[in-house]
């Protein structure tokens, strides 16, 4: 028994727990309480497992597990390095919160196909863990593809023609880029470096010329479609047809973060920070990421649908991570890694809020949200906190990632990038805080009918005119927790940087 | 003159090539399935000829060891072709059987008509 609790075995457990859950959930097809119970237990177990791995990583003894050598020099193997640890922690912790939220959302909505939903979710989480803990490019790619495939049924959850065509786009774009660009890049890396194992300092260091590095970096950057680097971003807004908990966890945390995480990990352990920045092969990506940051923010500003606006905001915020990786400096990578965490918590809050609003009022357009702060104060407060964190205002987590990124850009001499970051923050203010402003300061529109279901009076104390009309508790509590998380992360920065320091130093 | 000599020396091979091309042409050009099978048989026959021609040694006898004879024909190609003929007959028989069944099913043995009938469905 104790042998099973060795860190090395726990690495494997972090994938097996959700997979077992995925097998058990269908057994309780008709007993929803048990079914959701399994999901919650799996989420808690997974989270505990992942957290238990943290001390080993902090102590510089990364747990690892080699499963099988698939081909000569190519193995299915896991090894936890700091970046993956952070990503794993975020994803597994947020799964608990998200599961609670899912239960509230799906039940309030009487959604069909809930069993499929929870099964796919569990598989997606297992894949996310695989991506986070992968020891080499092959393992990373394997779970990356599995993540795409397992989230496809979630995106097409509604099964109507719109979600099916969005699902098709989602699948084709993500599979397409990964097969046409990512896979050749992996094979080329294998041929050049003779291995696909991640190693500090980069396995390609000194093995390829600048032109080759540029080509490979482009193949990786665009091949990892989940990173939503423009112009390959449009699957992300399309995927918003999915139920909100899916958008929240997968398209603010697991899927897209898996994408940018891959980019960061590849820059760090395949290219190597010094060898990449020394070759100058990264410059084009710095500018492209900067353009994405500003461009996507501008598009977000023009979107009237709440989830669409959040989606473009995500595209923009993901580009911060790509920017951090592209800068290929310690500070840049630190900023990028922090952004993975900070944005995850901030954006999931915003999506939770969007879902809560939809459940309580069936409103999806921003212009319908006038005065909604009076009926849904908790939700909108959380929305405010999440927005501020994403903008990067202290004392919220997002501050740090923006800070390190700006610092790194200035250090590397990209002053334009620093300017762009400021412009983008202003745009963030414009597209996020305007929603909060409407909600709290404008009077409700007279033509707005209240479609509330009436089963969600979590806080019905009848104070404001019309009364407080929140979403079910199972929705409000998670979003309050994540909003709280934004604040907690601000104060936990020392611990996080301590975790990331060895990775950022390129060791 | 030389051309005629080459022709005469390779007479069997010329016939082989002619039969091969003729057979293939019939298979491709004819729509009637019986004719296709005939073409196929001619095509196969050309190969029999190719094997047999060099095996027959002029003045050679059947390969029965006897001090009286020094020159023998090569028996191996003959045996091979005997097998090939059996295979060819089997193929032809099966092909004809299929044609009979096709005739029952479609009422015709002409490919174009058959395609037309399947197109109607």
């Amino acid at each position: 028994m104790t042998a099973l609790l060795r860190p090395d075995c726990l690495v494997l457990a972090s994938m097996i727990i959700p997979l077992v859950a995925a097998l058990v959930i269908p057994v309780f097809h008709n007993r929803s309480n048990l079914r959701e119970g399994v999901t919650l237990i799996a989420a808690v177990l997974l989270c505990a497992t992942v957290w238990s791995l943290l001390p080993g990583v902090m102590a510089g003894k990364p747990p690892s597990y080699d499963v099988v050598e698939v081909l000569p020099g190519v193995a299915l193997a896991f090894k936890i390095e700091p970046l993956g640890m952070l990503f794993g922690l975020i994803a597994s912790t947020l799964w608990i919160v998200n599961s609670v939220y899912s239960i509230g959302y799906m039940r309030a909505h009487n959604e069909p196909r809930q069993t499929t939903y929870y099964v796919c979710f569990a598989i997606a989480l297992a894949s996310t863990m695989g991506v986070a803990f992968a020891k080499n490019l092959f393992t990373l790619f394997l779970f990356y593809e599995l993540l795409t495939i397992s989230t496809y049924p979630l995106v097409t959850h509604n099964r109507d023609s719109k979600s099916m065509s969005s699902g098709r786009l989602y699948l084709m774009l993500l599979l397409g880029t990964s097969m046409l660009l990512f896979l050749p890049a992996i094979i080329a890396t294998f041929v050049l470096a003779g291995t696909t194992d991640f190693a500090p300092g980069g396995i390609l260091a000194g093995k390829a010329g600048t032109t080759t590095l540029i080509v490979l970096l482009a193949l990786f950057a665009f091949g990892i479609g989940k990173a939503a680097v423009m112009p390959l971003h449009f699957w992300l807004p399309a995927a918003m047809v999915a139920p909100t908990p899916v958008s929240a966890l997968l398209h603010a945390v697991a899927v897209v973060k898996a994408g940018v995480f891959c980019v960061a990990k590849i820059v760090l352990y395949v290219f190597g920070l010094d060898s990449l920045s020394g070759s100058g092969a990264n410059v084009w990506l710095v500018y492209l990421a900067t353009a994405c940051i500003v461009g996507a923010s501008l598009i977000a500003l023009s979107r009237g649908n709440l989830k669409a606006r959040l989606a473009y905001s995500t595209v923009s915020q993901l580009a911060y991570v790509v920017l951090g990786a592209a800068l290929a400096t310690s500070a840049g990578l630190l900023g990028g890694a922090l952004q993975i965490a900070m944005h995850a918590v901030g954006k999931i809050t915003l999506f939770f809020c969007a879902g809560a609003i939809y459940i309580a009022t069936h409103k999806t357009e921003i212009k319908q949200l006038d005065g909604i702060g009076r009926t849904m104060p908790f939700t909108m407060l959380a929305f405010l906190i999440g927005s501020l964190s994403i903008i990067g205002i202290p004392p919220l987590g997002g501050t740090w990632s923006k800070w390190y990124l700006a610092l790194a850009a200035a250090d590397a001499g990209f002053l334009i990038v620093v300017g762009a970051l400021m412009v983008s923050s202003l745009l963030n203010v414009a597209y996020l805080l305007s929603i909060v402003g409407r909600a709290f300061f404008l009077p409700p529109r007279p033509d707005d009918d209240d479609h509330g279901h009436g089963n969600g009076h979590g806080h019905a104390n009848g104070h404001a005119e019309g009364g407080i009309h929140e979403a079910p508790l199972a929705c409000v509590i998670p979003l309050s927790l994540t909003a709280l998380g934004c604040i907690v992360l601000f104060f936990q920065i020392d611990n996080i940087t301590a975790l990331l320091a060895p990775a950022a130093a390129g060791k | 003159m030389q051309a005629i000599q080459v022709f005469a020396e390779h007479y069997n091979y010329v016939v082989t090539i002619f039969l091969m091309m003729a057979g293939l042409y019939i298979v491709i050009a004819r729509g009637n399935m019986i004719k296709k099978l005939i073409g196929l048989s001619i095509f196969q026959t050309s190969v029999y000829l190719l094997y047999i021609t060099p095996a027959k040694i002029i003045g050679g006898t059947a390969p029965i060891l006897d001090p009286a004879f020094k020159v023998y024909s090569n028996p191996l190609p003959h045996v091979l072709i005997l097998t090939a003929i059996v295979v060819g007959v089997a193929t032809l028989a099966l092909g004809l059987a299929l044609v009979v069944r096709i005739k029952e099913a479609y009422g015709t043995v002409d490919e174009d008509e058959i395609f037309a009938k399947d197109g109607e469905q």
């Binding site: 499963v67 099988v68 698939v70 081909l71 190519v74 299915l76 092959f138 790619f141 394997l142 593809e145 599995l146 495939i149 049924p153 097409t156 099964r159 099916m164 699902g167 098709r168 699948l171 084709m172 599979l175 397409g176 097969m179 046409l180 896979l183 050749p184 094979i187 080329a188 294998f190 041929v191 | 293939l24 298979v27 399935m33 296709k36 196929l40 095509f43 196969q44 190969v47 190719l50 094997y51 060099p54 191996l76 190609p77 091979l80 097998t83 090939a84 295979v87 089997a90 193929t91 099966l94 092909g95 299929l98 044609v99 069944r101 096709i102 099913a105 479609y106 058959i114 399947d118």
Partner: protein, 497 residues
């Protein structure tokens, strides 16, 4: 015991051959099935023993009738054909339990015994091609398997099955005749038919008579190309697979074309390799070009099919392109990829055809739209279909990925980026045709045909699940596939001058 083990190569072929006769004599379906089952489950053990012997020792040489090679017929088993024997006999065995019910529902009762007779005959022919070391003997076995195949296809329910069988008969006979013509030419210049002997004698012969040798190679490549449905000689294949009974489609897709590919590999590397330096000939460029065309044309045609068996057939054309691409690349990694895909594709395609066969058994059709929503009615079968489909795409974690990995490495070695891009781009088309079907099966409303359908019976389900599991298993543990393929490729490449 040793007496039997010394006779294993002969038993490999003789058992199914005798079984075919017995099955025909039995006249009734069930006993014939039992006999076929017993025989087909014995064969993998024989080929397993042969494979083990070749992996641990030298190639096995078996003298049929006690005649010395090169005068008598020699059965020569090395790593390559032991691998093919193992593949064919295992697939033949795994598929068979599926046959009983499927055959009972698709074929008239009085023909059941004949079906099993033909099945065994076909198996005997295919195993014979793989095991023999004699070029002409290979032709005889080729015709045995082909004739049985024509009959098997003609047993299909649709009257178009007859037509398909006839068309295949014409094309197949032309192919076999061209092959025997090529063999005849090299016999003329070398005086031997033993493949091993040929490989050394052709060196001398090529120096004296280069043209007949090259012509012989050309005839053999084209003849075998017809049998393996190398683009553009693939036209017979979609109809044949589409209208044949379900078991037959699965069996043929998994074995018949594979054995023909084996023959191509054996001749281009084993027989001609020493003499004409196959990799330096333009014929390899031609094969690479045709393979790439096959990969795209086959896949693109598959996208437009509404009959799913046809779709899988076109997909086979495309996948055979991958295999022949490996042959055409003619380097260690590429050839390994080709040989390993031989096995991987056989497993995946058999799973796909059987899954469709189960659908046909339950709802009587395999048109795309009739199958909508079937995933919820037959979840296990259709999960297996999806997994094998992902294998076709080459998703990591499936056997298909392994093949593609080697092919990509082989391509980078010779042609650089364009070939690699062609490989990945054609797999994208596979995403379209597989994804389309999976979407309809799982994400659409149930069609009237599907209502009331239930999961396939166990005897049909098990083979499907075993094959789907193998698809995943061989995506991770590649010792049995890529490991042996690597050794076979080493042997073939090492045999070149």
């Amino acid at each position: 015991m040793t007496a039997i083990s010394a006779q294993l190569p002969a038993l490999q072929v003789v058992l199914p051959l005798l079984g075919a006769v017995l099955a025909a004599l039995m006249r009734r379906g069930t006993p014939a099935f039992a006999l076929t089952l017993a025989i087909s489950w014995t064969l993998p053990f024989i080929s397993g023993a042969l494979l083990y012997q070749t992996l641990t020792g030298d190639p096995i040489s078996y003298r049929l009738g006690g005649w010395e090679p090169p005068f008598g017929i020699e059965y020569r088993v090395d790593v390559l054909n032991a691998f093919v024997l193992m593949l064919v006999s295992s697939v033949g065995a795994v598929i068979l339990p599926f046959a009983h019910r499927s055959v009972a529902s698709e074929i008239d009762e009085d023909k059941h015994a004949w079906f099993y007779c033909m099945y065994l005959l076909c198996l005997a022919g295919l195993l014979g091609i793989a095991i023999t070391g004699d070029a002409f003997n290979a032709f005889v076995f080729l015709e045995i398997s082909s004739l049985a195949t024509y009959v098997l296809i003609a047993l299909g329910r649709d009257r178009r099955a007859l037509l398909s069988a006839f068309q295949y008969l014409i094309v197949g006979t032309i192919g076999a005749t061209l092959y025997v013509l090529g063999v005849g030419l090299i016999y003329l210049v070398t005086g031997t038919l033993n493949m091993h002997d040929l490989s050394t004698r052709l060196v001398e012969a090529y120096a004296v008579y280069p043209q007949p040798v090259l012509a012989g190679l050309a005839f053999i490549v084209v003849g075998v190309g017809l049998k393996l449905a190398l683009f553009p000689m693939h036209v017979w294949l979609p109809n044949a697979y589409a209208y044949a009974p379900s078991v037959v489609s699965a069996f043929l897709a998994a074995t018949a074309t594979k054995v023909a590919v084996y023959l191509l590999i054996r001749f281009s590397f084993g027989v001609f390799g020493k003499a004409v330096a196959f990799p330096t000939l333009t014929v390899t460029d031609l094969i690479v070009g045709l393979s790439i065309a096959a990969m795209f044309v086959g896949a693109a045609a598959a996208v437009y099919q509404t009959d799913l068996k046809r779709m899988l057939a076109y997909s086979s054309v495309s996948q055979i392109g991958y295999i022949t691409l490996g042959v055409g690349l003619a380097n260690q990694a590429g050839l390994t990829g080709g040989i390993v895909h031989l096995a991987n594709h056989a497993i995946m395609k058999a799973a796909l055809f059987l899954a469709l066969g189960a659908a046909v058994y339950r709802i009587g059709t395999c048109k795309l739209n009739d199958l909508s929503g079937i995933g919820r009615r037959m979840p296990l079968t259709m999960t297996a279909f999806a997994i094998a489909g992902f294998g076709l795409i080459g998703t990591p974690g499936t056997a298909g990925f392994i093949s593609k990995w080697y092919l990509a490495l082989g391509s980078l070695e010779v042609g650089g980026w364009p070939l690699l891009l062609a490989i990945v781009a054609s797999s994208m088309i596979a995403v379209v045709y597989v994804g389309r079907v999976v979407e309809v099966m799982w994400f659409r409303e149930e069609s009237p045909h599907v209502k009331g359908a239930s999961e396939a019976p166990l005897a049909m389900l098990l083979p499907i699940l075993v094959l789907a599991a193998a698809t995943v298993y061989f995506g991770f543990d590649t010792r049995a596939t890529a490991g042996i393929a690597t050794r076979a490729a080493e042997m073939l490449i090492g045999g070149l001058r």
